[in-house]
Symmetry: C2
Subunit: 308 residues, 2 copies
Amino acid sequence: MNIRDLKYLVSVADYGHFGKAADACFVSQPALSMQIKKLEDTLGVQLIERTGKKIFLTEIGKLITQQARDILFRVEEMREIANTAKDPFCGELHLGIIPTLAPYLLPYIIPSLSKAFPKLTIYLAEETTSNLLTKVSQGKLDGALLALPIVNEDFAALPLFEEEFVLAIPLNHSLAKRKIAKLSDLENKTLLLLEDGHCLRDQALAVCHRVNAAEAQNFRATSLETLRHMVASKAGITLMPKLACKSNDGICYLPFNAPKPVRTIGLIWRPSTPKKIVLENMVSQIRKVMFKQKMVRVLNTPIMCRNK
Amino acid sequence: MNIRDLKYLVSVADYGHFGKAADACFVSQPALSMQIKKLEDTLGVQLIERTGKKIFLTEIGKLITQQARDILFRVEEMREIANTAKDPFCGELHLGIIPTLAPYLLPYIIPSLSKAFPKLTIYLAEETTSNLLTKVSQGKLDGALLALPIVNEDFAALPLFEEEFVLAIPLNHSLAKRKIAKLSDLENKTLLLLEDGHCLRDQALAVCHRVNAAEAQNFRATSLETLRHMVASKAGITLMPKLACKSNDGICYLPFNAPKPVRTIGLIWRPSTPKKIVLENMVSQIRKVMFKQKMVRVLNTPIMCRNK
DNA sequence: TAAAAATACTCCATAGGTATTTTAT
DNA sequence: ATAAAATACCTATGGAGTATTTTTA
């Protein structure tokens, strides 16, 4: 068996036509036909049904083709690993980020990252934490920006900063005259929260449990922006991460006095990824930018090469 | 690049020696050396550090070797897929099963399955639901026996039977004289439960919430057997799945009157697995056996070929 | 009859073998 | 001095091309 044979098979599957498939592979039709037949012989199963004019994949042919695609993808990945090793700060970097962070953090860091890594093309994907973890471990993403800690041991992680939660209340709310909030202000209050799947929801619920606050029934926001509009329209109060605060949006954002409720934002990756060096450099860069912004407390856990 | 080259690389990585690696691949040392060098040329990176006597993998060499192992594994998988297609009822079948079911169900079904599928070697792995789902989707398991429903859409599933929960109480307990229990008997009682991760724990908790029963504090059993011994030693009461009941073990098992609390046991698999036919046949077989046992209510959802 | 895949035959690239050299311990 | 990898050179397998035949819609 041969990687080239798998390419031929996938090409036939894609074109449904030996001649066109051969063209796409830059070989003659008999050459491709011959190799497909050999592949069928070595596997001992018929992959393609030839009925003169039209051809179909057999059931097993579909399965084998799927596996072939998978193998070819991993071979490409191997080339990509080699290229990354030659120049890690070059090529593609696929980053995931949680939805409650993306629109507020990215405007600060992306311009600086593009400048710091000019030969790197950064692709961004907004997903919930559990999806991010899956995609990072499957190698569909190189790294992800999310709330730490991650219990799973299969990831390397570096903290970036601590982001406080502030109390978001309508302007006409009784607390809106205050300059600062206490956690105990939440006691016996009900809060508007995000829908399931968002880590921010769990973090807010944890705060609620500490002070005996409850979740508003019959409402689950699908995004932080929805939540913001609900508060602005006086439908209730909620906890907002600091970076998501705006000014003049009809909401009063009250900081808590110490101990402030916070979430820790960090960057995670597969310990074995060849992009480790890039990601570690990115951590330094993001910390630098966010330190200047003074919106969050930047963390300075040393960046070192860990092995697993 | 070539699958053979990847084998050579992995062999060198395993033996740390070109000569021995070549022997293991049944080729001469120069042949193998040549191909390794070619692989390094095509990837454009040095994979192996040759310092005369001793050789080492470079950092990037380790990454590429890992990727090569992965690719070779998938190529083997492809052969396995082909072999399975030639005779699905032959070869290996890797089945997962939840720990609260395995020791009680397997004695009933394994003898019958071995008889029904004599050319099939069945490997069993006991794991919690979330681990089973991961391993099935990764292809490390062909299928899994667990409690339905599974919310994830990426699996095909067939229900096998409904297993009732019965009330397990010490023989001297006030309820032990009764022949039958009501759910309301649990009101304001505390129950011993399993530790986190077992789906049985969640199912029992769901029953608790319905009747306002609580979980015993400061105790979480690691297995159903521990739980049984705790009840037998009069430490508390619990819910037991019917199949886990024994006789003469110092425990009174009280069935509930309708509507009985139950869990649905089913078999799941990847929709694309080539072992689908085997698994569907296995469902029929298990239903047949369990129907004879009369311990559970066998379900008869039709077995059909679904496509995704 | 026309389009598409299979077959026949030739050629050459390259993997692999043997013999030998180089290199580092 | 010796073990181990690299180099040199030859052989042969098999992949690819062109020309042609077969098949069926």
